[in-house]
């Protein structure tokens, strides 16, 4: 018996060694990937080391790392990077927390009531992002906006607040709109994960007289950790690239107070037509996105284990 196993393994090893590193069957996929993903990435990297302005029809000049050196000293780039981090991690963190709380609060609502509440809570997720942006933009208006009107009527403020026109308030105001639109995603996901917790576990905790907090902290949250982590990472990547909401609400202003990397790249590429420099910013942005994607892949692998 032992000898048989040894013989089988000895036969299997050379066969494994003979397996080609590249299966010909994946070649079409690789070709498509190379055209759709590889070419733009490589071309962006090539552009990032050139002085290439779209308005100048003469051939681009190779400038080496000059665009990257300029980037290091570019205060708008650094502010955009900081704004991107605040916008992305702030929005995702708060939306995840909000989604979690809403899911826990509505967990035990049954029947038609639950369906109505769930539909209501999910509605913002169904509203197109540009509509969300314009909706909030008009709600935030200094003159005639409903938020100021309500706050003035309630006597909370004496003068209208310039929500989108204050360098201090604009970014948080845009984040509120983003959180409003994103929280239902987390609510949906957490609700699904909560319903997947085995009843035996919940029953055992009840038998052990676990209180509400104990149940949430020791039983439910450990089950929710992985789904929350993966969805948060997915949302971080998605928010890192968010253009529509910010552009429609503030166009990156006032000043550069809501300018994120994607807004900055857009302005460089399509207002100044500086494709070389915009590509350098794009490469840095791509590297950061790849790091986030790597984290996401790791989290996925962890969950499988």
């Amino acid at each position: 018996m032992t000898a048989d196993v040894i013989t089988t393994n000895a036969r299997a090893r050379p066969r494994a060694r003979r397996e080609p590193w590249l299966d010909w069957m994946v070649l079409p996929t690789l070709i498509v990937m190379a055209v759709v993903v590889g070419y733009p990435v490589v071309y962006t990297i090539l552009l990032s080391v050139q002085d290439y302005n779209l308005l100048d029809f003469t051939p681009a000049n190779y400038v080496g790392a000059q665009n990257y050196a300029k980037l290091a000293a570019d205060s708008v780039f650094w502010q955009s990077l900081l704004n991107t981090a605040i916008y992305t991690f702030g929005s995702v963190g708060i939306a995840a927390l909000l989604g979690l709380v809403l899911a826990l609060l509505t967990e035990n609502l049954g029947g038609a009531r639950f369906r109505a509440v769930r539909t209501l809570l999910l509605m913002p997720w169904a509203v197109p992002f540009v509509v969300v942006a314009f909706l909030f933009r008009y709600m935030y208006l200094q003159n005639g906006g409903i938020i100021n009107a309500v706050l003035l009527w309630a006597g909370i403020i004496n003068d209208p607040v310039p929500w989108l026109n204050s360098a201090m308030l604009a970014l948080p105001a845009v984040m509120v709109a983003n959180i409003w639109a994103m929280a239902p995603f987390f609510f949906l996901l957490v609700s699904a994960a909560l319903s997947a917790i085995p009843n035996e576990v919940i029953e055992s905790a009840r038998v052990d007289r676990a209180g509400t907090w104990g149940m949430i902290w020791h039983i439910k949250l450990p089950f929710l950790r992985n789904p929350l982590l993966i969805s948060s990472l997915l949302m971080v990547i998605s928010n890192f690239n968010d253009f529509a909401k910010i552009w429609a609400m503030t166009q990156g202003g006032p000043g550069y107070s809501t300018s994120t990397l994607v807004i900055y790249v857009y302005r460089l590429a399509f207002e100044s037509f500086e494709f070389g420099y915009a590509s350098a910013v794009g490469v840095i942005w791509l590297v950061m996105l790849m790091a986030l994607a790597w984290l996401y892949m790791r989290a996925l692998r962890m969950e499988k284990r």
Partner: protein, 426 residues
């Protein structure tokens, strides 16, 4: 049976020959017909769409051998799309363009020089200065002036009267303006005392440029004193003061103020000649009511001089056009025909033609209306060309971001000016 079969075959052959002949005739006719693509935002905007569609239909009726394919592209997108299409070798034949975008397109070298198409008669009929800024370094005309639409300082006489101000004497200096703004704010807190565009886009810099010049500031271009000059700081300080006093509503595009002005909620507005048409369309005001309520004059001055900017539209032809003669015929029709001037330029677009004489008595009467007269005689003489070009586009982001910081933040003006200067193209 056989005879029948032969008859059927003969009939089929006859039908085939007739079909081929008809097909060839259609093809020949299609080949003779020239197609001109016309990229424009006039067809993308509700107010101007019916007018431009009528003008195109009239042109096609008058020129049965030319087909116009109108490509509607929004105002804010058209420059980007035209640059990208020119780069990829797929530009339209003719395009509508304005402001800095005209010079940007001109700098690409993808435009057809138009001097050889302009007849002496037409050149003599062009208004003085209508082609200012539309010639390259060699003096070659790269865009043809379609219409003129400079900005004027519009004042609401009724609001001024309610504030205890003389409605026939609009403010002429920045000091007088400050006093008027204070009086309006205290008497009518719900009214926006002054409407100016403080968004971050090249158009906003064009629109704010005369205000800067009013203080003597020239941040970029020929004779520039930079963003850290005392004049520029005085302008930024004034913007901050009027914002903090609640005299302006920052962040709105000028177009967003127009409906509010039409409702009587704006006292002063720095806007183009087209404002009259927009306000009348929005409120249904008659000419008489309009003139009772609104007047227009030159910009109040600080330490500098009163200037304005040309917000009119130009027409360009791409060198890649295969039908240049037909394209020029269309450009000339748009800029000079009484049909276009009546149905588009002075009506839905509410602007002035770029030619002196229309050759049409009715049109001349329309052009002698008080608003058009005030623009022609009082405001157009203050037109000052702006340093348009790729650098202006890059400067626009830096300068307008600084203006927004001054208007909405608390950062010291000196720091804002230094930050603008750092961002300006070197």
């Amino acid at each position: 049976m056989i005879r029948n079969r032969k008859s059927v075959l003969k009939l089929l052959a006859a039908v085939s020959v007739a079909g081929i002949a008809a097909g060839m005739a259609v093809t020949a006719s299609a080949q003779e017909k020239i197609t001109i693509t016309f990229a424009n935002w006039a067809a993308a905007e509700g107010t101007t769409k019916p007018g431009i569609e009528k003008v195109i239909a009239d042109f096609e009726a008058a020129n049965p051998d030319i087909d116009i394919v109108s490509e509607a592209i929004s105002f804010s997108e058209i420059a980007r799309q035209l640059v990208l299409r020119a780069r990829s070798g797929n530009p339209p034949d003719v395009a509508q363009i304005a402001g800095n975008d005209t010079v940007l397109l001109g700098s690409t070298g993808a435009l057809e020089p138009l001097d050889s198409y302009v007849s002496d008669e037409l050149a003599a009929n062009l208004k003085s200065g209508a082609d200012a800024g539309l010639r390259d370094k060699d003096g070659s005309l790269f865009a043809f002036p379609w219409n003129q639409s400079p900005a004027g300082f519009w004042y609401n006489k009724k609001i001024m009267e309610q504030a205890g101000l003389d409605p026939e004497n609009p403010p002429r200096t920045i000091d007088e303006l400050n006093e008027a703004l204070a009086a309006i704010k205290s008497s009518q807190p719900d009214v926006i005392p002054l409407a100016i565009d403080t968004t971050n886009r090249p158009f906003a810099l064009s629109s704010n440029w005369p205000w800067m010049q009013s203080f003597g500031a020239v941040p970029v271009g020929e004779g520039a004193t930079g963003a850290e000059s005392e004049e520029m700081k005085a302008y930024l300080n004034w913007m901050r003061e009027i914002a903090q006093a609640g005299y302006i509503d920052p962040g709105r595009r000028i177009g967003e103020f127009r409906p509010l002005a039409a409702q009587g909620n704006v006292a002063f507005i720095w806007d183009q000649v087209l404002l009259k048409g927009v306000m009348q369309a929005a409120s249904g005001m008659s000419d008489e009511e309009f003139y009772e309520t609104w007047g227009v004059t030159t910009l109040p001055v600080g330490g500098g001089k009163a200037t304005t900017f040309e917000g009119g539209h130009q027409l360009i032809m791409f060198s890649a056009s295969k039908n240049k003669e037909a394209a020029w015929k269309f450009i000339e029709y748009l800029a000079t025909s009484p049909d276009t001037i009546a149905n588009y330029t002075t009506s839905v677009n509410s602007s002035l033609p770029s030619i002196k004489s229309t050759g049409n008595a009715e049109l001349d009467e329309v052009l002698s209306a008080p608003v058009f007269k005030a623009f022609s005689e009082e405001i157009i003489p203050t037109l000052a060309p702006q340093p348009y070009g790729p650098e202006f586009a890059a400067a626009a982001t830096a300068v307008m971001a600084g203006v927004q910081e001054a208007v909405t933040g608390t950062k010291p003006i000196d720091e804002i000016a230094a930050s603008i200067q750092q961002q300006l193209p070197q």
